[in-house]
Symmetry: C3
Subunit: 153 residues, 3 copies
């Protein structure tokens, strides 16, 4: 078995769509970023790559490369899945926390979970989606994701 951990953060900005775990989420703002700003899929990508010591999202998809401008972040996840498959591993389960002031995640957590499970090609029961508001942290303008993953041979 192997363990992986991923972190990501993106600032909210007006005028772009909000995408979380591959799911378009109706909201007044989206997340800034070279790609589609999907903070959760980026942290998942990094957790998977890290679990097999295969570098990180920046190694594979440098933000300086115009190819990834506005990219669908599911593409990054698929590359990470290829890396873990090549290394001979598959996902046991994945857990995550989104830290953001708005929107409320509880009503859409099931949909985000289904979207993430679909992108990962695993059952929903092996994907945890949780959320917190950033109490006391003065970071209401940013979305943060922490992801942990367990792999088996």
């Amino acid at each position: 078995m192997r363990i992986g951990y991923g972190f990501d953060s993106h600032a909210f900005k007006p005028g772009v769509p909000l995408i979380l775990g591959g799911l378009p989420v109706p909201h007044t703002e989206g997340l800034a970023g070279h790609s589609d700003g999907d903070v959760l899929l980026h942290a998942i990508t990094d957790a998977l790559l890290g679990a097999v010591s295969a570098g990180d999202i920046g190694t594979f998809f440098p933000p300086t490369d115009d190819r990834w401008k506005g990219a669908d972040s599911a593409l990054f996840v698929r590359t990470a899945l290829e890396e873990i498959a090549t290394a001979g591993y598959r996902i046991v389960n994945l857990d995550s926390v989104l830290i953001l002031h708005r929107p409320k995640i509880v009503p859409i957590a099931g949909e985000i979970r289904a979207s993430v499970a679909d992108i990962l090609g695993i059952p929903s029961r092996n994907v945890g989606i949780k959320a917190k508001t950033p109490e006391g942290l003065n970071q209401d303008g940013v979305a943060v994701a922490h992801v942990t993953v367990l792999l088996e041979e």
Copy 2:
């Protein structure tokens, strides 16, 4: 086996008791929050729920529900323990980090550990309690908890 990760943060505020891992801690301030503000037990609850993909503390105990006003957070942990038992799992070990400016945790880490182990119903040797001050992070007014947990069938 399954892995879970939980995060929580609460701002310090005067005039309320400080409770960490179920242990009342003598201090000039406590933690704001709808319940007793026990940032460590909240992160533990979320790590357990996330490990079995059972939602999060906000799903089970919405802050809008008056029943949980001032609640003993051990109640939240017990609900999470029921969820992992129902899913057919038990705790192998749990590790945690508290990030807070004060009070000093080293002198009371053993007591917090015993309290957490007691609430979880597992031996102290399977509970890790660690602490850091938030060096460079400008968050002296808040307590943060990160928790990771490993489950087995």
Copy 3:
């Protein structure tokens, strides 16, 4: 098996060398701290100690103790390795994320990985080194490390 998690943060400051994972990194600033400020090795030390519930870096190496002033943080890691060996465990794999504005980590991630693997006495393929810039978090003056570790008997 057992799981561990470690966190650390240190503010950047001019006039001191930057050391990351035991590797001296050419940069305009280093990290403040009682020891050599190696935020990554400190988080690794804590992840290892936490995985076997053996306290934390502050328990073993109090910052009030002059012996650890400017200390090589590899010393802290070695103590944690002794603790996990005494408890009857060894490292399966370790994953990490550094969150810092500068310097760029991608070009030196391989060297940091080799240095960490060497200090831990494990193959590089079992060490994950990743990095993020702190997008939206207003913490450009600080380096943060998150580390997760999986142990087996």
